[in-house]
């Protein structure tokens, strides 16, 4: 039985503060940076990817799918993604308690973007494999050398 989508009542002040943060970051940055602030970071791309491509996931399933993520980090990122309206959390009143995460309808709008990013990541990986890791080149002396021009 679906019971509740919201966080506990004790989180309300934090949520209000977070919302202000969202508004601030929103007002001051270009749209690309806004997107990056929602989906970027070490773990969020993977969380969103697995929820997008894999569908509904329980907490432990997500933790197992993303090796290296701690329980604390996963909780924190899921909460931030919930705050941004892209992830939904459902608690089922069962014993043991079941908590499931999925993309919201709005979060589904991220899927085409994540796919485009994934494809580009693959292209870039292939590009680096072809060209090798290279230090940033510093000089490209392509300009014509000064030449003495004899006139007449």
């Amino acid at each position: 039985v679906f019971v509740n989508k919201e966080n506990g009542g004790g989180q309300q002040c934090d949520d209000e503060r977070d919302r202000m943060k969202v508004t601030d970051r929103n007002a001051n940055h270009c749209p690309v940076e806004v997107t990056l602030s929602v989906i970027g970071g070490k773990w969020k791309p993977l969380i969103l990817w697995h929820l997008g491509e894999g569908g509904v996931r329980r907490f432990l399933e997500l933790q197992r799918t993303i090796p290296g993520i701690t329980r604390k980090m996963l909780t924190q990122h899921l909460r931030e993604l919930e705050r941004d309206g892209v992830v939904a959390r459902q608690i089922f009143d069962e014993m043991p308690l079941r908590v499931e995460y999925s993309l919201t309808k709005y979060g589904q709008t991220l899927r085409p973007l994540l796919r485009v990013l994934c494809h580009w990541g693959s292209k870039h990986e292939a590009y680096v494999a072809r060209n090798g890791p290279r230090p940033a080149p510093r000089v490209e002396p392509t300009a014509p050398k000064r030449m003495a021009i004899a006139i007449g």
């Binding site: 002040c13 209000e16 503060r17 919302r19 202000m20 969202v22 508004t23 929103n26 270009c30 749209p31 690309v32 940076e33 806004v34 997107t35 990056l36 929602v38 989906i39 970027g40 070490k42 791309p45 993977l46 969103l48 990817w49 697995h50 491509e53 941004d84 309206g85 709005y106 709008t109 991220l110 085409p112 973007l113 994540l114 796919r115 485009v116 990013l117 994934c118 494809h119 580009w120 990541g121 693959s122 292209k123 870039h124 990986e125 590009y127 680096v128 060209n131 290279r134 230090p135 940033a136 080149p137 000089v139 490209e140 002396p141 392509t142 300009a143 050398k145």
Partner: protein, 122 residues
């Protein structure tokens, strides 16, 4: 459209964002996509809050990742121009999608802000 291709076996979103996600890189790429070729000084004017050191560093990383090319003209005063490489041009649809989603997010948050009372800062 790229999304119709079969997906890579691994999620490569994070590596992609690692290339694009550095501080100022989104804005640098935006301007290079718009204006094609820019001198260092022009880029600095577009990013007044970035220090010269930071901007140089970000451009170097983009160069290293094969996105941006740097052309030095040996003349007086010296001229250095930045543009996207051919590979860098493949970022155009990616940046468009990133921008579109950010715009949608922004308007959504604005609508929510109008519906809600503003939060009280403590």
């Amino acid at each position: 459209m790229q999304t119709e291709l079969p997906l890579p076996e691994r999620c490569l979103v994070r590596p992609a964002l690692k290339v694009l996600g550095g501080k100022w890189k989104a804005i640098i790429l935006y301007h290079l996509l718009e204006d094609r070729t820019l001198r260092f000084g022009q880029l600095r004017r577009f990013l007044p809050d970035a220090t010269q050191k930071m901007l140089t560093q970000q451009l170097r990383e983009l160069e290293r990742d094969g996105i941006v090319s740097r052309k030095v003209y040996h003349q007086v005063p010296p001229k250095v121009e930045y543009s996207l490489t051919e590979f860098g041009q493949t970022l155009r649809p990616v940046m468009t999608e990133l921008r579109k989603w950010g715009q949608k997010y922004r308007s959504r948050v604005c609508q929510q802000g109008e519906r809600r009372r503003p939060a009280v800062r403590r």
